[in-house]
């Protein structure tokens, strides 16, 4: 056999002949890596959900203005749910501190949409809100065509698609992708009043069409042009002489000078409004993440300690079992460093293998758990539980190898300093 190949075979045989035992002993590290992958996925999802999906994406100069007592944005009109009066919206729009003011409205109509697919139809109740197209400028493709026209353009928050698909799947419809849904025709039914007062009970039917999708606002409903909501409210007023109750629920505003933000916030608070800036959202996200991190780090610390102790213990046992071999190697001319390295390389190899297995295993669990969660709780369908990518892979392999190497270091030092003559005389 070629001398180099024989040497390579010899080194592998010499160093890896007992590796199965080390593999079994180091099994605990797999749990640490699995948990690490799951932690990263949940962390990313929470940050994305908190910072993006739930509280919307805000730039540093953007603020969210809410009614004083509102904890979240309420898109469905119900008794006792606060709103921003029209005159306050006008006041805010007139303030010179803003370069852009985008109020989001809600309507007093109960709205149902009816969609047909493969010969079947489905009607569902759905909340809606109204925005001006200038709010969508640069944020939604084709924003210019988002105005009161026939068919009425509808923007679907990405958050809503999963829920819609969930409803559709219950009736045997296939899941629809964003691409499938663009241009999808729906019938909208606007209802208000009570049937026992027929003069005020009205039903209006409008044809709508899916215009686009956005993650700009995330709520389980649809976004319609404000001018269309005003038009429908005006029609009701003409028909009955009563108002349907158009209200503003939130204002997205962009300040001229972000340094001036504290004084602008003060002004708005004096007007009886609540303000959330990027800072507030970051703070909320940070607090939530601190909690998530705390829980995960506590659990991971336990895994880490258990892994290190078990690996340390098993390597110490291996050193004891192989003490004669290590001593003999030293006598035959291996240096302390070579003994140390043989151990560390073995530990690093085992760690790397468990890192790879942990990475793929963790993602498999996440995918499986994500599917099950989405079936049970529809809203989880929009939360992507994945922790893939080269960086995560490298982290998994790196952490796993490092933990194994650190755990094996002391036993390796012990092996390299073993009492040689006592061992070889066994």
């Amino acid at each position: 056999m070629n001398s180099f190949l024989y040497k390579l075979y010899f080194i592998i045989k010499d160093n890896f002949v007992n590796i199965l035992r080390s593999f079994i002993s180091s099994f605990g590290i797999l749990f640490l890596i699995l948990f690490f992958v799951i932690y990263l996925a949940i962390k990313d999802s929470v940050i994305s959900y908190m910072g993006g999906a739930l509280l919307d994406n805000l730039a540093s100069d953007e603020i969210v203005i809410l009614p004083k007592n509102a904890k979240t944005v309420e898109y469905v009109k119900r008794p006792g749910v606060p709103s921003i009066p029209s005159y306050t919206v006008k006041q805010v729009s007139g303030m010179s501190d803003f370069v852009e003011v985008n109020p989001v409205s809600r309507t007093g109509f109960n709205i149902r949409i009816k969609g047909e697919l493969l010969g079947k139809s489905k009607t569902i109740f759905i909340p809606v809100c109204g925005v001006d197209r200038k709010f969508l400028k640069g944020r939604v493709p084709g924003w210019k065509s988002f105005y009161n026209r026939h068919p009425v353009p509808i923007i679907v928050p990405k958050f809503t698609i999963d829920i819609m698909n969930n409803y559709l799947s219950m009736d045997g419809f296939p899941a629809l992708t964003e691409k499938d849904l663009i241009g999808f025709p729906v019938e909208m039914k606007f209802v208000t009043g009570k049937k026992n007062t027929p003069q005020y009970y009205k039903e209006y039917f409008y044809e709508g069409q899916v215009h686009s999708f956005t993650d700009l606002m995330s709520f389980t409903g649809l976004i319609l042009p404000t001018d269309f909501l005003i038009f429908s409210a005006e029609q009701y007023r003409k028909d009955t002489g009563r108002t349907v109750g158009m209200e503003y629920v939130v204002i997205y505003a962009k300040v001229k000078d972000s340094d001036n933000l504290p004084s602008v916030v003060n002004k708005l608070k004096k007007m009886g409004l609540r303000v959330e800036s990027q800072k507030d959202i970051v703070e909320k996200t940070r607090k939530t993440m601190n909690l998530v991190n705390g829980v995960f780090f506590a659990i991971m610390s336990v895994f880490f300690i258990v892994s290190v102790i078990s690996i340390f213990n098993s390597y110490l046992t291996i050193v004891y079992i192989r003490s004669q071999k290590f001593s003999l190697k030293r006598v035959l001319g291996f240096s302390k460093l070579q003994i140390l390295l043989s151990f560390i390389v073995e530990a690093a190899f085992i760690g790397a293998v468990y890192g790879v297995v942990g990475y793929f295993g963790g993602n498999w669990i996440l995918g499986y758990a994500g599917d099950i969660l989405a079936k049970w709780i529809p809203v989880f369908g929009s939360i992507k539980l994945q922790s893939s990518g080269a960086d995560v892979f490298i982290m998994c392999v790196g952490i796993s190898s490092s933990v194994c190497m650190v755990s094996a270091l002391f036993p390796a030092l012990f092996a390299s300093n073993i009492n040689l003559f006592n061992a070889v005389r066994k």
Binding site: S3, K7, F10, I11, K13, D14, V17, Q324, K325, L328, R330, V331, L332, G333, F334, S335, K336, L337, Q338, L420, F421, V424, R425, K426
Partner: protein, 262 residues
């Protein structure tokens, strides 16, 4: 001088293991060291090979103090200049005889035809039939011959043998003894034998006794002519027979006194 041990002392706790021990070994010489179990003989081999650190003294190999060397250089010294032979053979059980013999050459990264060398050596040591067997399947004598082959694969100049016949029957021990004589005469290797085996002591050029930490030279009145006869070319078998039949009268003197006499 190949190896000189100068005034080496070693304590384990309060116990004095080696007390001002001095020893010289030249190429082609066999030195036998006897002494009580636990008397420090193996520790002396450990110090000579750089595996143990003495409390004081020097170990000069080709006039260089090995105790000043770092671990890497000492390891290389052990690999290239020293061959070890042990009482319990210390072969790696998961490797074949061939792999055991080849093991030290794997550390010494010098391109050479090790495979051919092993086969020549195996033929010479009569172990060519067992090269691909694992140590568990070999007899004691075969294992020791494999261990000797491993010890000399890197052509060392010094063999340190710790009770090499201690675990062998008389016939096999005689074979191993002859092997040491061959290594001395044919390869000009220096051999330090730590032993209780009288027949091994008889092939030694010098005999030392380690007692209470002091190394004392043993003068064999009857053995002196046999040493002389080796120089005149009488074969080793004859010497061994002669040594067996003669009752050696020994006179123990401290090393320092021996030097003074000289």
């Amino acid at each position: 001088m190949l190896l000189t041990v100068e005034n080496v002392s070693l304590h384990f706790g309060k116990r004095m293991i080696l007390n001002n021990v001095s020893l010289s070994v030249d190429d082609g010489k066999i030195i036998a060291i006897t002494g009580k179990s636990g008397g420090g003989k193996t520790s002396l081999l450990g110090i000579i090979s750089g595996l143990l650190e003495p409390d004081s003294g020097r170990v000069l190999y080709k006039n260089k103090n090995i105790l000043r060397w770092g671990d890497f250089r000492r390891s290389r010294f052990r690999n290239r200049e020293i061959g070890f032979v042990f009482q319990f053979f210390n072969l790696l059980p998961d490797m074949t005889s061939y792999q055991n013999i080849r093991y030290p050459s794997m550390i010494k990264f010098i391109p050479r035809d090790v495979d051919r060398e092993i086969r020549d050596m195996a033929a010479s040591l009569n172990i060519n039939e067992i090269l691909h067997q694992k140590p568990m399947t070999l007899s004691g004598g075969e294992r020791q011959r494999v261990a000797i082959a491993r010890a000399i694969i890197n052509h060392p100049r010094l063999i340190l043998a710790d009770e090499p016949t201690g675990n062998l029957d008389v016939v096999t021990a005689a074979e191993i003894k002859n092997l040491f004589v061959r290594l001395k005469t044919e390869e000009r290797m220096a051999i330090i034998l730590v032993t209780h085996d009288k027949s091994l002591i008889e092939i030694a050029d010098e005999h030392y006794h380690l007692e209470e930490g002091r190394l004392l030279k043993v003068m064999h009145e009857e053995a002196k002519p046999s040493v002389k006869s080796k120089r005149t070319g009488v074969n080793s078998e004859h010497q061994a027979k002669k040594a067996k039949t003669t009752q050696a009268k020994t006179e123990v003197k401290p090393m320092t006194k021996v030097k003074q006499k000289r």
